[in-house]
Symmetry: C2
Subunit: 106 residues, 2 copies
DNA sequence: TGACGTACTATGTCTGATATAGTAGTTATA
DNA sequence: TATAACTACTATATCAGACATAGTACGTCA
């Protein structure tokens, strides 16, 4: 299982990627993460929701309420232009990190 | 530049790798990290020395004093058998992490 | 009706990376 | 020969992100 220290710093990439093409909400994103990683990683609820807050207060996400059929209310998040830029930067950092760490793999 | 959140969790791999074949000491390891990463990453002194302490108290490293020509004393660190196991586990985790994060790269 | 799934919020803890500062011996340079 | 730069650390405190724990509340299905 992937430890918290190892995944730290990549939650941004994961979440922003899944909001790239359309808005999404917590529970949905959570399931998509598990699916897309083939069960290799499941983001804890608290990690996800606190990341939403952080990303929003940094200006990378914007939230709005949506009411679904059934009357339940959800909070949706969508990427801002700065969010797209942040994603690119984090992605570039990831590429470099891979290159660096791979130098220390035997 | 690689941020603290992104490198977090990989300092173990980096340090243990460099102690794989022979003991080493702080300043030397520090320079080797910068060299081997082609200057893409420089580990902060405090990060390195606190990692030494952590790795030693976890039983992954063992330390001993060495006196060099000139009279200066250094603290050398060498890998323990558990340290080698830890390296393997961290390495496996790194492989999985790469696979996971790459699923979220566009 | 009660378990399970959905969709969160609140609060507090822990750890690893880092900032800041200081000590002290060695070597190069002007 | 003074002093700056390099070597080789230690001590202390801070910060942020991941996570544990707990709780709320609505919907659905057996």
């Amino acid at each position: 299982m992937i430890s918290s220290d190892v995944i730290r710093g990549y939650t941004d990439i994961i979440i922003l990627y899944l909001l790239m093409d359309e808005p999404g909400y917590g529970y949905e994103i959570s399931r998509k993460i598990t699916d897309r990683s083939q069960g290799l990683y499941t983001m804890k609820e608290t990690t996800l929701y606190s990341a939403f807050n952080r990303l929003e207060s940094n200006g990378y996400l914007r939230s709005f309420s949506g009411t679904e059929t059934g009357g339940k209310t959800r909070t949706y998040y969508e990427l801002t232009p700065q969010g797209r830029i942040h994603y690119q930067l984090k992605k570039d950092e990831w590429i470099v990190t891979k290159k660096v760490v791979d130098q220390f793999i035997k």
